[in-house]
Assembly symmetry: none
Homo-oligomer: 413 residues x 2
């Protein structure tokens, strides 16, 4: 199965927006056993869109188109689709229902633009958009498939993973390619490679990709045997070998986020937690509360940015702040113990560091972060050097704090 991805939008052609949709689609198609041969981007010009569609439709088994489906006047994709498929637009009842529901939920009235959006090329199969208005649409002709997705990234992602990938899985042969992703944190790529050691016998001919990101390195195993059962079995063997060697750094698989893993551990054990943040500035609480049902274990958070707030909200002794400074092991531990006591929870978690760009000194440079964990029985703390980019420091520090909780909860006894 050979595919082409066509992304549409003037914003791409002037370089205002980086084409993340393209990479996301390519990754998912590859994982589904489809080989992406070409990716094309054109602006909102009817002739250029039609030309790109025609070329792709004539030469590939699967053509995925995204962008140019919004409610305003720059929507030209739909008419290009009609020309290509030699059909006209027809109002779709399910799309109308969805838009009605969405407008109602947002307290908005029906408009001409909404009416316009209910029209889809006649004969295309429709997948309703669970998070927006423009649906996904599929045309099938002589074994060729044309798949059209909205361009708003989160809508595209939702429809691709929720509707199109399952649709392709139903209609294509089961891919004998199996991917498995293991998510690590707290170990750099080079060290991870070293710990894994000799790869030939580990992999038995399969492939292993190291995918680094600011939060950690993902390991992607790709196995291609003659049947999917064989591929799955081999992937499991390889995963087990990798876990034997570097298991302590692996916190999850596939798309699992660390905050979900930690949340599940807290729920399982009926533990409650509260956080006291300085340098992470709310991001740690934000991660905790991104998880549905987190109100069961996340009791409160405090962003004690000023020294005064550290004293008032967390009862950090002013003397401790004076002697060791706000960014210190002592203050991190006092913050974790303080929030635990104030909130009356099982676990207190804290961060304090220098997010920069200002405020660094030779002894306490930008990027230095102290993280502490207190559970009444004991208080532990770690420090990290997390680079020199403010947003990255906040992100990595929050991740490291979550990882500290995970490791503590996973400890035997």
């Amino acid at each position: 199965m050979r595919a082409e991805i066509i992304t549409i939008g003037d914003e791409l052609l002037i370089g205002q927006v980086i084409n993340t949709n393209q990479a996301f689609i390519a990754e998912r198609l590859t994982a589904a056993g489809v080989s992406v041969e070409k990716m094309t981007s054109v602006g909102d010009h009817p002739e250029l869109i039609l030309q790109a569609l025609r070329e792709a439709w004539a030469t590939r088994d699967i053509v995925i188109v995204t962008g140019g489906l919004g409610p305003t006047h720059d929507d030209v994709t739909r008419s290009a689709l009609c020309t290509l498929l030699e059909t006209d637009l027809v109002a779709d009842e399910r799309v109308r229902e969805r838009i009605t529901l969405l407008l109602k939920a947002r307290g908005m009235r029906w408009s001409e633009a909404a009416e316009h959006q209910t029209y889809v090329p006649r004969g295309m199969r429709i997948f309703v958009n669970p998070v927006g208005t423009a649906p996904a649409m599929v045309a099938e002709r002589e074994g060729h498939r044309l798949i059209v997705l909205p361009g708003v990234p989160y809508e595209m992602r939702e429809l691709l993973t929720g509707s199109i990938v399952p649709y392709l899985a139903d209609h294509l042969e089961a891919p004998a390619i199996v991917h498995r992703t293991l998510r690590t944190t707290g170990i750099p790529e080079s060290l991870l490679a070293q710990e894994l050691g000799e790869l030939d016998s580990l992999l038995e001919g399969a492939r292993l990709a190291f995918l680094p990101s600011p939060r950690g390195v993902r390991l992607r195993i790709t196995v291609h045997e003659s049947t999917s059962a064989e591929s799955r079995a081999k992937a499991e063997r390889i995963e087990q070998r990798i876990r034997d060697r570097v298991g302590e750094y692996i916190y999850g698989v596939e798309e699992e986020e660390l905050e979900e893993i930690v949340g599940a551990l807290l729920r399982e054990r009926s533990l409650t937690i509260a956080v006291a943040e300085s340098c992470t500035g709310g991001l740690l609480a934000d991660k905790f509360t991104n998880v549905s049902g987190s109100s069961r274990y996340f009791e409160r958070g405090v962003i004690a940015y000023s020294n005064r707030s550290k004293t008032e909200l967390l009862k950090v002794p002013p003397d401790l702040l004076r002697r060791h400074g706000a960014v210190s092991q002592e203050v991190a531990e006092a913050m974790a113990e303080g929030i635990r006591r104030m909130a009356g929870v099982d676990i207190g978690l804290s961060t304090t560091g220098i997010a920069g760009p200002g405020g660094g000194t030779p002894e306490k440079p930008v990027g230095l972060v102290w993280i502490a964990y207190a559970d009444g029985a004991s208080t532990i703390s770690v420090h990290r050097r997390l680079g020199d980019d403010r947003l990255r420091i906040k992100d990595r520090a929050s991740h490291a704090a979550l990882e500290l909780v995970r490791r503590r909860l996973m400890e035997p006894g």
Copy 2:
């Protein structure tokens, strides 16, 4: 001048790498007055590369190719170039000198791979790579230009801005295209289109793109007149007309973020702020503290997730919580006033809502959020319906809270 950008590399086609080169080149070409009509990506396959080159070379004034020039075995671009230009490879003395120098500086010896890299298609103009080995190369034929750049991002950037853009400036007329982006929030795309009304007279032939995102719609004006002075003047006229019609929704231009705008307003006026969050769970504080220097005005934040924490940390009367529920105008206002008093700051800001997926009722559905602002003189509050996705509700509610502060601070008197 119509251009096409061709990027080459298997890593793009499997979605392992996001194509940032493409956007960078597109942005620089656009700024140089070149109109990018199409962008194409293909893997390291000789036939697919040649086919993409042929199509582009036949139809565009400028073709920029990047990738596939590295020292490893996947270098197939060079031979495709020779086929396209009907020429052969020839060793280049300046490239040899450059590679010799670089290897010496890195303490490395001359190798077969290095030798291989000295060969370039005969007749192409060479721009030596100041930060790597592979040079930039240009072919000119009957007014068409083929420009080849290495794929390593920083080498590509260096050669593009240092050599190719100046080369194009010498050979092309001055750019007459001007872009201007206005960022709006608090108004959906369809309503924004309605408020802008009839576009033909507003735009005088220029183009306007609506770029929606969960936080708001960006409006991008594109003007193409015969001189850049004319284009700029017209873009300003159009911007003014747009501001006359929907100015209240515009919070910034180009890449400005709302939290930066609000931070600048607070600093200008020497005001301090503290936040009390329920449904946004730390994200509002996170946004505030993403801005460098925010510690000057951001004093503290409290994430009062439980009712108990609302009472303890913000002195919200338990009776108020019982009578109106945590998600209510009364509690939102008590939270804003509470955090203002507790923190001793000028402004208190609060959010309370139902982020879902559980917890909704017919009267208070998932997505309902109350936001309050208290400055001692008065307390104001707004409510919003923000869809049904937990993360998006958090994001939109934080954005709406920032926007409430911006609007309040911008009010006359």
